[in-house]
């Protein structure tokens, strides 16, 4: 059982094409993390507080 092996097997085409497809998948995951997940997560974590407040 392995998620990565499972995805790799499901990707269509020869190895060279699979490599490109994997790169696209990885970039898509990174984009979602960097542009939506992490900014949202950062607002929930308190370590960005720089203001004084009651």
């Amino acid at each position: 059982m392995s998620i990565y092996r499972f995805v790799w097997r499901r990707l269509p085409g020869p190895t060279a094409v699979k490599v490109i497809e994997s790169a696209i998948l990885v970039s898509a995951v990174l984009a979602v993390l960097f542009l939506w997940v992490f900014p949202e997560l950062a607002t929930m974590l308190a370590f960005n507080s720089v203001t004084v407040e009651d």
Binding site: I3, L30, F38
Partner: protein
Amino acid sequence: MSTAPAELDGETRRPRRERTWGTIGRGVAGLLGEVLITAGAVVLLFVGWQLWWTNAAADADGAQVVAALQHDFDDPTVAQPEPDSTVIQPEPEPGTAFAVVHIPRFGSGFARPLYEGTGQDVLARGIGHYLETEMPGEVGNFAIAGHRNGHGEPFNRIADLLTGDAVIVETRSSWFVYRVTGREVVPPTQVGVLLPVPDAPGSVPTKALLTMTSCHPLFSTKERYIVYGELENRYPRQEGPPAEIFAAN
């Protein structure tokens, strides 16, 4: 030792392993390991995002906003306020940039946009002006906040500021030159630092003061690093950048 010749031709599929509790257990353990490694990679990516990506994004965005602001300040079709005026027109809405902060100690050319309000959204893009405090140049306290790590980290080197260092605020009307007068480390709840006369409730202000806040220690939110300043000089903006911006501290 005996490899059957039929298995060498590549066409042969690996014989499917018999499913036993042992192989299933190993499979689950393998999957769990993969999930944990992935989670670890995501945590590292988050650190990278926080320390590198947010800076790159905020620096690029900040430079653009500063350029747009200065271009707008130079626009002759917009009614110019009286030189030296502390009135910001139109009154800045929370979340909008309305001034540029220059701090020569932080490097030549250091200029960051100043936004109205201190919400996380504006602090992610520049320096924030505490809503309830005075505007630049006004008598009372002009209080601003900025990140020390990540998000462009405008106040990364706040602890390097020395007494006498210049903090220059550029508005449509003026250049306001503040000089650093002191610093202290306070608990995050000490809102007295924002008072018209810091930490002196009820006192009537007679000077135009500055309070800067950021987190302390580095990478922590345990305390706040506070720098105080006092207005020393003001110049009409048309006169161009004041010598204080270029002066080595």
